[in-house]
Point group: C2
Chain length 388, copies 2
Amino acid sequence: MYQVAERAGVSIATVSRALRDDPKVAPSTRQRVLTAAEELSGHDEEAARRRPGVSPRRRPTVYQVAERAGVSIATVSRALRDDPRVTASTRQRVLTAAEELNWWPSRAAQALAGEAHGAVAIVFPDLTGPYYAGVIAGFESEVVHRGSAVMVLATHGRSASEQLVRDLSTRIDGVVIMDQTIPDSTVEDVAADVSVIMLARPALPGVAAVHSENTNTAIALTRHLFGHGLRKLRFLGDLDLTPDVRQRWAGFVAAHVAEDLPAPTEPVPCGGFELENGYRAALELLENEDVDALVCANDELASGVYLAAAELGINVPTDLAVTGWDDIDIAGHLAPRLTTVRQPVRELGAAAARLLFERIASREVTDELIATEVVIRESCGCQPDSSA
Amino acid sequence: MYQVAERAGVSIATVSRALRDDPKVAPSTRQRVLTAAEELSGHDEEAARRRPGVSPRRRPTVYQVAERAGVSIATVSRALRDDPRVTASTRQRVLTAAEELNWWPSRAAQALAGEAHGAVAIVFPDLTGPYYAGVIAGFESEVVHRGSAVMVLATHGRSASEQLVRDLSTRIDGVVIMDQTIPDSTVEDVAADVSVIMLARPALPGVAAVHSENTNTAIALTRHLFGHGLRKLRFLGDLDLTPDVRQRWAGFVAAHVAEDLPAPTEPVPCGGFELENGYRAALELLENEDVDALVCANDELASGVYLAAAELGINVPTDLAVTGWDDIDIAGHLAPRLTTVRQPVRELGAAAARLLFERIASREVTDELIATEVVIRESCGCQPDSSA
DNA sequence: TTGAAAGCGCTAACAT
DNA sequence: ATGTTAGCGCTTTCAA
């Protein structure tokens, strides 16, 4: 039957119907089936396969494997998933046949048939700088370790991303959504179909979140600067880009309040998180204003500040203290070495992945907070020896 | 009919067969269909939907949209792809219904039905350092721009990756394979099913490649060092990790030959491409050997050399010239500023994506070579003013 | 322990 | 211009 089906280019179900004169089978189809059946009595399988007009080499399917192993497709399917009902010898025949045909199951078909997609995605704003690369590396690593495939989507602030995310959701089991990439309403839609975890973004009803500690660490960092006697502090970074930065700013403000100091001036805008942004923003600021310390939203911005300061003949840290955030690789190699906050970026991605799989297994999940720590080096004014 | 099918929990095909007494329909199924049909004469749609036992809210399908719009599923499918045969008013009804039900097509189902997957993948060794992040960013950007989804797979040297790649290939239209991630034999298997492009890896029959210029640029760079009167040059980097590095080494050697100098000593091994690797390798080398210049396989290794030199009291560039490769962001900000080779990493990824889509459209594709250029700064011994 | 066949949500050939 | 239905390659009842 399988051979006839293959030869006629129809499913075995159709062959079956055609042979019984089922009215649902179109006459032309029935004819093809009958012809194929007839022809097969005179030709062997190989001849049929080499027959001109038959598409050259297409992916084999369960049907071919079943035929070769002399079993039904159901058995092939069972053998593949180590179903205990299949005898060892049968399983072996199936596996051998699969091997010989170089066959492996189609994920698209498995997904349609109700199995999981075996894929998850992560949505982030951009792939610039070591931060996102680190998060994605941690995510990818944890996901692949669990046997799933990884899809990535950078939104770049495009609003078309909403539709892309919906589309994504039809081919994955779950997705991690970072920062301000797509609106909550879309997240809710998607969460109705697949598991969702927020990363560095507030949780929603039914959508848990992974965060790293920002506010308290920012308070500690700011206090440390106060301890150096510094009072004219400015925060450098854009609040509208990520919730993380808003929390760092909140901690910065809270530290002022706790110290009974006047509220700090608004953050210095820089239009992005890259070195260039910090360089330009600092250049303009330092030329016009007397500042004791710059608390930067991340390490790249701080590196930019270093350049601007050097250009203006301002010494770091004696004239100006500078702090970063993230503790990227070069932070400890800059001159002076950068005082910053260590954030386990890979772990952020990995934690999000773990929570996502928990959620996919429909287990309870609760928000997770990743600890961060202030790393004192010399850019804050500390001496090399005191804290190396 | 659609309502009956929904109520009975079967496909419309089955309803049709059941009503015609098709023997292929199990008696129990037929009974369910008949019951559903009967019940429906007494209840309206809403009542049926609220009926207990019916699963709460599942993704809507074409069937629901078709029913709501009062058309067949074929029309829904056509309307969605702007088929000119569908009248404007009908299309509008369909789109409205889809909107109201918050429906969008399942990619898994579309793929199974023969459409493209609308997804492509990139396979790379690791997500460490700015190089791979840049390539992937360029790739992602170009792919999303063309409306496809992006899958990523880091192989980390795992051999299990072969199976992962095969699995990947059942849900994508094409894939870019970088470096020494998976064996050629697997690439060939995969290429039989989907389009493949090599990136920074030799082409195969039927598999085109994207490369960046290495050998010639390495020759130019090495010659520049010879021009400074330097003769005891060493190459720092592992040849077994990527074809790119082998080509850089080849250029390094060729430059010696062209200058009638003795062939250079074997490359200094460092076990990786990160700052730490360069630091450790240089520390050991410089303590034991007199070297004029270190030509590093990338900028991170060069940064590591800077650290080792500083620790040993060796001045760069007066005691030791150092060059990198890639021209990552910080290269121009190190002290002394790093002489290196500029490589448009994002463009590498983007070019691979473009070639891949050409291939998917089954157009002819030929290998592509991306130009690189030597960037002279001060770490080679040049004066700041002469080339800033 | 195995097989037959229904169904997953679509597309497209075929029939009006 | 629209509807019917086979089929994509699987999984999973249901029967035997």
